[in-house]
């Protein structure tokens, strides 16, 4: 599966965070790469949406929606600044 990027989930991020998030800067907890969320690797179409660091490919965030409830796991982000 080809990776897309954060633009592909801009709507989902806006829905979850309430503000435009593709220009927010995320810091990878693994390798400290700083990047706008639009530039991260994003995999959709699986059971959840997975966001990975373009620098080291570590998982930054996972979003899983079940019956209208979304679980947001930001385990791989040490900071987000919008």
């Amino acid at each position: 599966m080809d990776a897309l990027d954060g633009n592909a989930i801009a709507g989902q991020l806006l829905e979850l965070f309430g503000v435009e998030m593709t220009t927010a800067v995320g810091v990878c907890a693994g390798c400290s790469t700083r990047a706008e969320l639009a530039e991260t690797l994003v995999y959709i179409g699986g059971p959840g949406t997975v966001m990975r660091c373009r620098g080291c490919t570590a998982v930054l965030a996972v979003f899983v929606t079940v019956r209208g409830l979304t679980c947001v796991d930001l385990r791989g982000l040490s900071a987000i600044t919008s």
Binding site: D2, L4, G18, E36
Partner: protein
Amino acid sequence: MARAAVSRRLNWQLATVVRTIDETDEAKSIILRCPDWSGHLAGQHIDIRLTAEDGYQSQRSYSISSAPDEPLTITVVRLEDGEVSPFLTEELRTGDEIEIRGPIGGYFVWTEHSGGPLALIGGGSGVAPLRAIFRHHKVTGSDVPIRLLYSSRSWNDVLFRAELEGSPDVRFALTREWPDDWPGHRGRIDRDFLEHEAFTSRERPLVYVCGPTAFVEAMSDSLVALGHAPERIKTERFGPTGTS
């Protein structure tokens, strides 16, 4: 956009199809009217949600292909095994209503204040948001130097052909088939073509690349190899899979 900046609860709205335009055998532009539309920036997209009679829902993102002051328009290419695009290109009629939400996205956006020179590089239907930027640049009478490089399978697959053909600011590349007397680029956009047509790295262009993932990766790798600053390159990748 003032209103959009304040209240950003992203709600689904009903939009009415005002008109559809055949762009190619497989692509249509769909002009929508949405009573509660807050206006958009060039490069933004909308999400579309279709609901089947049994309640099954399918959702996709489509770039807005019209300039901010023009009626809201998306341009959809039918994917053979698609779930949403065949409906949008074959079933949807003037007067029909569909659910949309937006405008969405703040990264892949160009305004008059963003500056340039402006290099727009599109592969296939990745030209849609670039066409919004290209038109916005024209409509606002911007004096920023601009160049659109547009890669397409064949001349028959070129979207917005009547509008882009003949523009001194557009360069076409045809990757699969071309007429015998084709004066444009033959084959994929390569480093050499970028070097000659997309401004030099010394001119520090602002570059927007949109297309399938493989196209975007190839373009951005070539641009960086040519000395363009990564922070001046904005990329947007799309694929056939949406969120449902």
